[in-house]
Amino acid sequence: EAGVTQSPRYAVLQEGQAVSFWCDPISGHDTLYWYQQPRDQGPQLLVYFRDEAVIDNSQLPSDRFSAVRPKGTNSTLKIQSAKQGDTATYLCASSFLGSSYEQYFGPGTRLTVL
């Protein structure tokens, strides 16, 4: 069974630039999560979906961050006008409602904003 895949693995950009992260969850997993993990911190939930619907995006900085999962499979997280404070690893995870509570994480995208 293929795990959660993410791309790109690394991104470096200047303040003010935009960037998109892509996630392909485990096949059949209906719930998809995006986390932000600053250096030497634990992951912090940004948004999660059940199928194509946003369940909770209360921690997503909505003025610059957006996330979609249009067909209930792959997902894209986008940052408009990145700031140095956005420097972190962005993790995608997926899980299946009705199975264990386990969330399966991808390897993450390490973002550096100069």
């Binding site: 959660v4 719930t31 999560y33 030497d40 911190q41 634990g42 992951p43 912090q44 939930l45 999660y48 369940i55 909770d56 993790l91 995870a93 899980s95 509570y101 386990e102 969330q103 399966y104 994480f105 991808g106 390897p107 993450g108």
Partner: protein, 111 residues
């Protein structure tokens, strides 16, 4: 306010010793407590978890001890191996979806 606190921030043990990682939480509504293991360059992976109805959970060399009254739990890693060197995150949730992570404990196991 940090809802899930972990200590120590860093821990070094010798191979074969038992490593003890501590965790405490604020929200009495939390009822699911997973521990995740993360190696550099990788995403976290679930190691072991416990529900608040239990006070102990074992899986091989890994044991969670849970004290609901004191809102504390600990992860014991018996017979620690160099391959156990990683960052360990204690997490908590009241619905199994919105999981709150602590800041992690960096474990170093010396051969």
């Amino acid at each position: 306010q940090q809802q899930v606190r972990q200590s120590p921030q860093s821990l070094t043990v010798w191979e074969g010793e038992t490593a003890i990682l501590n965790c405490s939480y604020e929200n009495s509504a939390f009822d699911y407590f997973p521990w995740y293991q993360q190696f550099p360059g990788e995403g976290p992976a679930l190691l072991i978890s416990i529900l608040s109805v239990s006070n102990k959970k074992e899986d091989g060399r890994f044991t969670i001890f849970f004290n609901k009254r004191e809102k504390k739990l600990s992860l014991h890693i018996a017979d620690s191996q160099p391959g156990d060197s990683a960052t360990y995150f204690c997490a908590a949730s009241d619905d199994a979806y919105k999981v709150i992570f602590g800041k992690g404990t960096h474990l170093h196991v010396l051969p």
